[in-house]
Symmetry: C2
């Protein structure tokens, strides 16, 4: 067989010629901007010429600080195809993290949306390696920093050659990078190769992946700075699917208008977006019947949400699992042929089935591989050609186990390859060589009619290693004590899982995105500021 490297340059050449008539549509709140892929290809070549002139050579990093829009797509094409590395900065991170990331990646150029300059401007002086900012979609205003030159995107590319002699690369060379948001410790950089992006794009287009094809019009709500928008931009180039990009219009009403007006056939976003859209549609109906499927991932999707979309709007919701480290497409929850009714829903509500290119195994409490029996719990480890094997400039081996990625997700695998996640590894309670899911215990406690909220964390135990501590918020006008809750749990969880340690609190501490802040709870237990009631039989 011919030794042809898989490369973004070939993807650009293909997508902008054979599918040159497909379009990228950028929402503007008013008249959408429509541009054919052929034109995107010409502008990407111009951008590459401009970046060369700005001194971008070798595998230097070109960062983006952008919404989902046409110019961001042009950077997706130009930067890896010219041999450099596209680095998508997550605009939603804390300023300290963004500055850390830009410095850690040693970004040479930042391409930024004009609408995001208020966020970028105060950060720019802290980005030590950045020499150029290219401002897209508007005026740079008074953006300035020492040693940094500021350019207007359209002026910079204007008049340059519309073709570029893309260099030949090794398919294992870096093409793009994205940092994990890092709830603990510093963000870590994941580097995608030309090979991994090509293979991942094929998976996105496979009928049991996201089935993206030429006849699709794909609405990418998931940000292009968030795990490469789940691979949709490159899959669109590969398949010829047209792309609908939201720019900064992520509000439920804007999304509903966009879908009604543009009639996309598929879409991908996190559950929060779909929840907002559902409420919007319930309040002010729009026609969303063009959607043949939507993909939901990033965190577990509430069953009620999936059922509401399917039953009320006829839109099938595909549950998917992945992470920045997995490119991100890991599993997709297509129910197997023949599954009906509740069994079908059980499959669809799982995190999905691992494809051939993503091997999975479960590592249990003792570091042993656990059986894939749908019952045995372990931390999911994955292996495959689009799974990261290291982090950029980071020697910490803790995230890897003999070449496999430790996902930090805990759950089960069925014999037929379906993944069901029950907890995060850092939250699971390791008790006597067995694991107790904090999330499952929380759900059982919250099933008590007097309980408003309950968060479960592990606390050290001299005999069992760890035992669960339950922090409970009692509903107003109700009352219940630890013994009562323990009795309530008795026939709901295994006897050895019954918690002894209880704390009644006014509110469970939350993170900035509204999740239980278990780190703070553990600290408050450790420093003695949490009042704990111990109950045993």
């Amino acid at each position: 067989m011919q030794d042809v490297p898989l490369s973004i340059a070939d993807l650009v050449r293909y997508g902008t010629t054979v599918h040159g008539g497909s379009t990228v549509v950028t929402w503007t709140g008013a008249e959408p901007r429509r541009t054919a892929y052929a034109e995107v290809g010409r502008r990407a070549a111009q951008l590459a010429h401009a970046l060369r002139e700005l001194g971008v050579t070798g595998d230097q990093r070109v960062a983006t600080f952008q919404w989902n829009n046409q110019e961001h797509l042009e950077a997706y094409l130009a930067v890896p195809a010219m041999g450099a590395v596209l680095h998508t900065l997550n605009i939603r991170l804390h300023a300290d993290q963004i500055a850390y990331i830009a410095n850690h990646a040693e970004d040479h150029v930042v391409i930024a949306d004009a609408s995001l300059l208020p966020l970028l401007a105060p950060l720019l002086p802290r980005m030590k390696t950045v020499r150029h900012v290219v401002v897209a979609g508007g005026d740079p205003g008074d953006l300035a920093a020492e040693g940094v030159r500021v350019h207007r995107y359209d002026d910079l590319i204007a008049g340059r050659p519309e073709e570029f002699d893309w260099p030949v690369v090794d398919e294992r060379d870096a093409a793009a990078m994205c940092y994990t948001s890092g709830t603990t410790g510093d963000p870590k950089g994941v580097v995608y190769s030309h090979r991994s992006i090509w293979l991942h794009s094929m998976q996105v287009c496979m009928s049991d992946g996201m089935a993206v094809g030429q006849a699709d019009y794909s609405l990418a709500v998931v940000p292009m700075f968030h795990a490469m928008s789940w691979g949709m931009p490159y899959a669109a180039l590969m398949s010829g699917s047209s792309l609908l990009l939201t720019d900064r219009f992520l509000q439920p009403a804007a999304l509903a208008d966009m879908i009604a007006a543009e009639r996309p056939t598929m879409a991908a976003a996190v559950p929060t977006i779909w929840q907002g859209l559902l409420q919007e549609l319930d309040a002010a109906p729009r026609d969303v019947s063009s959607l043949k499927r939507v993909v939901v991932g990033g965190s577990a999707c509430p069953p009620s949400l999936m059922k509401a979309f399917e039953e009320r709007y006829g839109v099938p919701v595909l549950h998917a699992w992945g992470m920045t480290e997995t490119s991100p497409l890991g599993s997709v929850a297509h129910a197997p042929a023949g599954a009906e009714g509740e069994q079908r829903w059980a499959y669809r509500l799982s995190q999905g089935r691992l494809p051939a290119s993503v091997q999975g195994r479960l590592i249990g409490a003792e570091g042993r591989p656990m059986p894939h029996d749908g019952e045995s719990v372990g931390e999911l480890e994955v292996r495959g050609p689009w799974i990261t094997g290291s982090y950029h400039r980071d020697d910490d081996p803790a995230k890897f186990d003999d070449g496999w990625l430790r996902t930090g997700d805990v759950g089960t695998l069925t014999p037929d390859g379906f993944l069901r996640l029950t907890d995060r590894a850092k939250d699971v309670i390791k008790s006597g060589g067995e694991w107790i899911s904090s999330v499952e215990l929380e759900n059982q406690v919250m099933a008590h009619p007097a309980v408003a909220e309950a968060a479960v964390v592990a606390v050290p135990d001299p005999k069992w290693d760890e035992r669960p501590l339950v922090a409970v918020v009692v509903k107003e006008g109700h009352s219940v004590d630890a013994a009562g809750l323990r009795t309530f749990l008795a026939d709901r969880v295994a006897r050895w899982q019954l918690p002894e340690h209880w704390a009644f609190v006014d509110e469970v501490p939350k993170t900035s995105v509204g999740k239980f802040d278990k780190k703070t709870l553990r600290h408050r237990h450790a420093d003695g500021s949490l009042e704990v009631v111990d109950v045993r039989d």
Copy 2:
């Protein structure tokens, strides 16, 4: 990204565990044999142990001489996964060619169906390197040859371990091989790598490929000895599609019964098979409504056949192009979104659109690249990770052009990547630096009401290099002369294409498969045995 090689062993591990419940069904004429992929996996491991014991090591070749059936599938799994090379012998070739191929590939073992022993027995003494024959599905009878040991398949694998420690391979290592039937010269061996098979399988499963997925039940009519059954066995392992295999029951009535009884969702075969099935269904209707799509390739499909299946039986026919050298999936004719009516048919009747992994270019009469404008004609050359770059033990560079495969097919490419083939390169007439399609000229001549058949070949010309010679069979009871035909053509073809050389014959010589035998026509012209009339204006 992790450096995980793409390998058949991983495909076997995945397909026989995660999709262990999918089934391979072998038609028997009576009760079909049904076996779960999990069991196929255990038997493949047993087969690998047995083959090791027969001395199969390294990249030694294990040949198959089999219909499409479960044991053939087991060889597809076991042989490449153990690091050896699966060599599918084409049972339909002439005995001399089969012997040549087995010797050229240096096959060590042949796995043969008992039903094919009458074909194999006389050949066996001519296969110099074969040391073992393993007979599947019946008794070896008195099969014997000097230096060859004969085994029964089921006896040979019985009792062996049901797991095999598949070796780690380089993804560019040979996994399988298949010889082209070679209408001219000796057959040539195409060697597939683990990498090429993996990538090709993904393409088969892509929604704009053959869209094979877990919910499919795929009927592989195209033989497993013919370009790997168009990739369906490995795609089935990758996706979990169940497989329906015909064994030797390829007669139209058997196929119709099979479809009605087993209700496959997709199928793949050459036009002749579908033509036979259509006639059978028209004569004795069966329920074929389970078929959501059928793929047709191997040679151009008559439009009437495609339309009949779609209009009379509601079965969409997908036209595809490929060859042994292209693994074989080259292009598939999905009409683009928005194409309607006749425009849609024009797309669907083309050879299809090249996918991102198969680059195509047209090389014209002067060896120059031709534009992809849907008009300019050239020989199609292709490049990609599942396109062969050489033949096994063959240094002839004539089939390659700077690393690209010369397909020998002549036609046009549209700007949006659709391929339309008009001729074979060896039949095209190279006249004054331009090409004349023999097939198109034939079609124009045959449009004359007095013409029964017309074959066009190139004859040498001192001024133009080559000019067309038309051999015409006049319909009984009609009469027409060369001048009349030339006048008839005048407003149908470009003036410079008008043929000067005409021969009136009783019949056009045909090959064994019924095609015009242009080689014989050219010889008859060269040795002066063809009476030629020259007409000029």
